[in-house]
Amino acid sequence: MAARFNLESLPSWRIVAIHVILMTAAILAIAPFVYAFLTSIKPSPEILGAPLQPITPNPTIEHYITFWTEHPFDRWVLNSLILTTGAVFASLLLDSLAGFALAKGEFRGRYGIFLLVIGTFIIPPQAIMVPLFVQMGWIGWQNTYWGIMILIISAPFGVFLMRQFYLSISDSYLEAARMAGANTFQIYFKIILPMGKSALAALAIFKFIFMWGAFLWPLIIVDSGAMFPIPVGLGLFEGQYGDTPWGQVLAASLLTAAPVLVAYILAQEAFMKGIALQGGVKG
């Protein structure tokens, strides 16, 4: 095992340098959000009239109220929640099942199927959007929630992540369960699934971010304002006026970004564990 990095053993000037670099990076990361928030509470004339004045003397929430009442923002939020919930749950179920089969299953062609799965990594999603759009038309899924979700659910990344995680779990767990009389589905639900909690949390966060921020595919597959997820609503909102109301755009953008931030904070620990791909005892 590699020696643990000990900050206190470093010379003081290096500790100061590390802190300066990290604090600069943190400020650079947070500054756009702070600027967006401060601008979203400025009255409209001050947004372009005094862009360099960061804090307004007359804060207001008019942009939040105007955007909410003049656009079906609540419906777009619900649409995004439906899409994200469905896509995350279906992805976790299907990706963990496929990952389990590819990691621990014994069947002919297992490696070939895995190669096919990771081979799809090299195909950018934009390249398959037109044929997928045509397929969705064949099965009547254009302008439906299912048609939007399918691209995120079918992404190969989750299968790859779960397979790699399950490879790190010792076969002795599975053998012990078999000797106790468990069948394959019982092993999956009672042993494999709970042991993969950290990887599942990481995958859930990834899928949440992908689905919540998806723009191009929903824009193509959906043509009704009632079915828009938030990013599509926001994107078209910017484009439909000659004079873009930046206060409303920033207010809506902040409201859109908030759930992702909350989800990440809630699952941060499990997310980091999942990224590190720590499994059970090596066999």
Binding site: H71, G86, G140, N143, Y145, G147, K197
Partner: protein, 79 residues
């Protein structure tokens, strides 16, 4: 078998809703996820954190009801 296919086809056709209609696609999604989570929480009772999974499952069922009873309001003219 045919009946199951017809039921599945009918459920999948409910994935599109217009202005201020009950959001049946959301009802199906949230109900499926909620029941799935509650089932997993009972199957794996011996593991930690399953009470949170169960609560999340019931929240999903509440969201299914919310989707069905989504508040109607004058649809904005901008969209």
């Amino acid at each position: 078998m045919t009946a199951a296919v017809l039921v599945a086809a009918y459920l999948l056709s409910l994935g599109e809703q217009g202005h201020n209609e009950p959001i049946l696609g959301g009802v199906i999604t949230f109900t499926a996820v909620g029941l799935g989570l509650i089932w997993i929480s009972y199957v794996n009772r011996e593991f930690t954190g399953m009470s949170k999974v169960r609560i999340l499952g019931f929240m999903m069922l509440v969201m299914a009801v919310v989707s069905y009873l989504w508040p109607h309001r004058p649809w904005p003219t901008a969209v």
